[in-house]
């Protein structure tokens, strides 16, 4: 390509005509008057439309009185933002140092091969977007792959097909999913005593044992230590929908925190994950909310 051709291509590319005017006024309104709210605004637009349309960037630049070049610079700086529509399912392969040496690149390549895309691209049918990140903070479990917020640990090339199929069939994070689970080992956030109970395995792994109290009754509740599995066992029958107190069986302190469950507003229980991070679960019996926060 000669310099003249490059110039021509660069300067006379017609503006993107496909973008409709998107209504970002509401989002701008929400963050109005906040200092440095630009990233928050962009994050909201990203989560609402799945990407940052050009027209939205222009409106943000005008409304927040920042040069478009700045807004564009920020939008291209953070991996969380994308300027092109993302697919229905977002696959994130960790290529941090630990995952890299444990075979992350091979997994990324295999996913790319099966989907026919490279990292950063979206499949033609708009179903999958493949991205790579540098460390998700779960290095001991590497190679880690996250599909739509569901963590897969120790991924091998052989598991890729199953994972993609789970995503296609909408089985991510459900018990039928073949490849959705992540083994965790938890401890009490107050006394740091391990809560793992090897004597009562669930799903062929040591279970997580906590004391639960509801009304006058107390008993042990055992949860599966596969994050993603809802299987649990309890000595006494806890009525469904019942709010329960979670206690550490060793230090007898309450495990219930102040955060509320996004589904049912019951308080969330926090358990420490060995190796860093925390798992949150809803204290309402039967509510499926489980959240894994890795640092």
């Amino acid at each position: 390509m000669t310099a003249a051709e490059i110039k021509e291509e660069r300067w006379f590319a017609p503006p993107d005509a496909g973008d409709d005017e998107l209504d970002v006024a509401e989002i701008l309104q929400k963050h109005a008057g906040q200092r440095g709210g630009l990233i928050a605004v962009l994050a909201d637009i990203q989560s609402r439309w799945g990407y940052l349309p050009e027209s939205a960037l222009r409106s943000v630049s005008a409304a927040m009185d920042r040069p478009l070049a700045d807004v564009y610079g920020i939008a291209t700086f953070y991996r969380a933002f994308s300027l092109t529509p993302r697919g229905e399912h977002l696959i994130c392969v960790c290529l941090g140092t630990a995952c890299h040496v444990r075979g992350g690149p091979g997994v990324a390549e295999e996913i790319g091969r099966q989907l026919g895309i490279h990292s950063g691209q979206t499949t033609d049918d708009g179903r999958f977007t493949l991205e790579t990140v540098n460390c998700l903070g779960a290095c001991a479990l590497g190679p880690v792959v996250v599909i739509d917020g569901h963590y897969y640990s120790k991924v091998t090339r052989l598991r890729v097909a199953g994972m993609l199929e789970d995503a296609r069939e909408g089985r991510l994070g459900t018990a039928e999913g073949r490849e959705h689970r992540l083994p965790i080992e938890v401890a009490c956030p107050r006394c740091n005593h391990s809560l793992m109970d090897a004597g009562h395995p669930i799903d062929e792994r040591p279970s997580i044992r906590v004391t639960v109290g509801f009304g006058e009754d107390y008993g042990h509740l055992r949860l599966s230590s596969w994050f993603g599995s809802q299987r649990s066992g309890s000595e006494s029958e806890i009525p469904a929908g019942r709010l329960t107190d979670f206690l550490c069986p060793y230090c007898h302190q309450g495990l219930t925190g102040t955060d509320a469950c996004p589904e049912c507003e019951a308080p969330l229980v926090t358990l420490l994950v060995r190796g860093g991070g925390a798992v949150r679960l809803c204290s309402r019996q039967g509510c499926p909310t489980r959240r894994l926060d890795l640092p």
Partner: protein, 243 residues
Amino acid sequence: MSRWKEWIGMINLAINGFAVTVEDGSTLLEAAQFLGFPIPTLCHLEGLSPYGACRLCVVQIGQGDRARLVSSCTYPAQEGLRVWTASNRVLRARRMVLELLLGSCPQSKTIQDLASAHGVRQQRFRQEQEDCILCGRCVRMCREQMVAGAIAFRGRGATRSIGTPFDRNSEQCRLCGGCLYVCPACELRCTYTDAPERAVCGGCANLAPPCAEQEGFDHMMCYMNPCVACEIPTPEPQPGVPS
């Protein structure tokens, strides 16, 4: 210390062993240059905010074990500071910075001249033939002096670049040429061909603008249309497309 110095906001420090008094609020670079101690700079430009990108202006502060290198263009002068602008450590660091800059932009005459002036006699790094060293001069020029904000940094890491949003002709650009004027990389190029050792000769006077070389520079740092520096014929504006 006499009282009047405090009154008018002066501070005392030692530069290269000389006790000096400079205005409070100045940077080490300003202090040293005002007093005549030379410090080479690349990303710094009077009239633009300090940026600290090139690290060419390193100086040594502190003593003994606590001595460290800082970029003088961003470091504020402090009472009692001991500054060395040309210690062995500083000179070594500077030569390394220049060698690295030369590796990324071996044809820039500015960098070549700086390199030869500071005794860089070799080039050990793979030459990248970049057309931008990401010094940010153009960005600050455009924003602070032209109040246009047409160009900015984009992306990050190895793919960081300077340019207009969406790589399109910017509506904010005033076509002033300020960005080209201040760029240390987008200017006259050395015409040496490939030998790395010739990258530091610093002796030629080539007058061809970089974009005249058709190969090798695929993203010219030129936001002007038509460009003031280069003679590439610009394409006819197409109907319906704002140019």
